[in-house]
């Protein structure tokens, strides 16, 4: 069954042997995302003889992928990444079985997909998918090997493996809540050095091989950072406390989540311009909420409710009107405030943010 010649160089390793090779053969590893991180991870997992590999991705190969996604060639442009990857990996190692899942991972299919595997690699490229995978793996108690990149820097961590005290951590222990969509750029916007996902994806594969074979020490409950420009690496302890008020704790809760919305995507805040403001402010059942700090000037001449943005969260009960216009100095805090209200008040409320804030309002009054 096991081809000793193919795996000779690792079977020879001190501490490895046939036994470790056999463990790899029996392992089921799922790689979510067959892009920059997924390509190198898949190549080394397949080459080292992981017996069953799942590849989940709904994307097709494009020209701008080829700078770093080393499984694909110019001939593959337009083809499904899962299909091309499966073909290449099977040519490299025909002894293993590869399952492809060519659809987007969602709350509806995640539990069924993940349940078939012992170990999951998060090689995805967006926060909704990352939080979805993390919540699913925590609930299902599946080992998750996390990797993420930004320009010249990478992060690797291993989640849901208990340490000696039985403590486990997940991505939520590290970043309890997703950042706002405008906070962190992805590779499309910020660019990425091609070798970076090569290094980080290969590190994820290394952790997978160590966990399966029991060799060495893993990054469980630790975050490793790598900065290529300065050749700096560091390992940080992840705290055990999970600080998030409404995490999905069961499969049922998880399936009700909307991760796009959870990450602030897909639902935008309605904005009104300074020219529309005075008219809309007079509409029936309307309240203006000023989310600036109490000492900020100038104030507006219309009735308003003053709740600083930092206190908005605990003061939803003060809001008695159905039409709400959130204002601040420049329109930035009011947008965040309006989003917060949208997330917490029911759909019967109409919430908008004053674009350009009071600055713009005063400017147009003077024109």
């Amino acid at each position: 069954m096991l081809d000793k010649n193919r795996y000779d160089r690792q079977i020879k390793l001190r501490g490895f042997g046939i036994e470790a090779q056999q463990k790899l053969l029996s392992a089921h590893v799922l790689v979510i995302g067959a892009g920059g991180l997924g390509c190198p991870a898949l190549q080394y997992l397949a080459a080292s003889g992981v017996g069953t590999i799942g590849i989940a991705d709904d994307d097709k190969v494009s020209l701008s992928n080829l700078q770093r996604q080393v499984l694909y060639t110019a001939e593959d442009i337009g083809k499904l990444k899962t299909k091309v990857a499966c073909k290449r990996l099977s040519l490299m190692n025909p002894d293993i079985s590869i399952n492809i899942i060519s659809e987007k991972i969602t709350t509806k299919n995640a539990v069924a997909i993940i349940s078939d595997y012992d170990l999951i690699l998060d090689c995805s490229d967006n926060f909704p998918t990352r939080y979805l995978i993390d919540d699913a793996c925590r609930i299902l108690k599946k080992t998750l090997i996390f990797g993420a990149i930004y320009q010249y820097e990478g992060q690797v961590a291993v989640f849901n493996i208990p340490d000696k005290e039985g403590t486990t951590t997940s991505y939520r222990n590290l970043f309890p809540e997703p950042p706002r969509p405008d906070e962190v750029s992805d590779c499309n916007e910020a660019g990425v050095l091609g070798v970076l996902p090569g290094i980080i994806g290969t590190w994820q594969a290394t952790e997978a091989l160590k966990i399966i074979t029991g060799l060495g020490h893993t990054l469980a409950n630790k975050l490793m950072t790598i900065d290529l420009l300065d050749n700096q690496t560091a390992i940080y302890d992840i705290p055990a406390d999970l600080q998030h008020p409404n995490l999905p704790l069961t499969i049922e809760d998880f399936e009700l989540m909307n991760y796009e919305e959870h990450c602030g995507i897909g639902r935008t805040v309605n904005t009104i311009s300074s020219s529309e403001f005075s008219e809309l402010a007079k509409a029936p059942d309307t309240m203006i909420i000023d989310v600036r700090n109490l000492d900020e000037l100038p104030k507006i001449d219309l009735p308003y409710l003053a709740i600083p943005l930092s206190e908005l969260n605990g003061n939803f009960s003060k809001i008695q009107h159905k039409n709400i216009i959130v204002i601040c100095q420049s329109g930035k805090r009011s947008e965040i405030g309006a989003k917060l209200l949208q997330e917490n008040l029911g759909s019967e409320y109409t919430i908008s943010s004053l674009e350009g804030g009071i600055n713009q309002l005063k400017k147009s009054e003077n024109e």
């Binding site: 090689c123 992805d186 910020a190 996902p197 900065d227």
Partner: protein
């Protein structure tokens, strides 16, 4: 005085620069100083580590402590 060396990652490096030194007795004080100099930092989700241990609460700092400010990355 308590001198603190700060290392930054991701976008924080663009905002703050890569090697920053500040004087602060606690992590809260440090963060407040940073936010007053760089208001952009106020609304960013980040994790703070003191000497490679990620902290959740305000933490006392000692001279020459190394504080890391880390944002999440999404790229893959």
């Amino acid at each position: 005085m308590t001198n603190i060396k700060i290392i930054t990652f991701g976008r924080l490096k663009e905002i703050l620069g890569s090697d920053v030194e500040l004087q602060a007795e606690t992590t809260d004080e440090l963060l407040n100083k940073i936010i007053s100099d760089f208001p952009l930092m106020k609304d960013l989700k980040l994790r703070i580590a003191v000497n490679q241990k990620i902290i959740s609460d305000n933490t006392k700092l000692n001279n020459n402590d190394l504080v890391a400010l880390m944002p999440p990355y999404s790229g893959g």
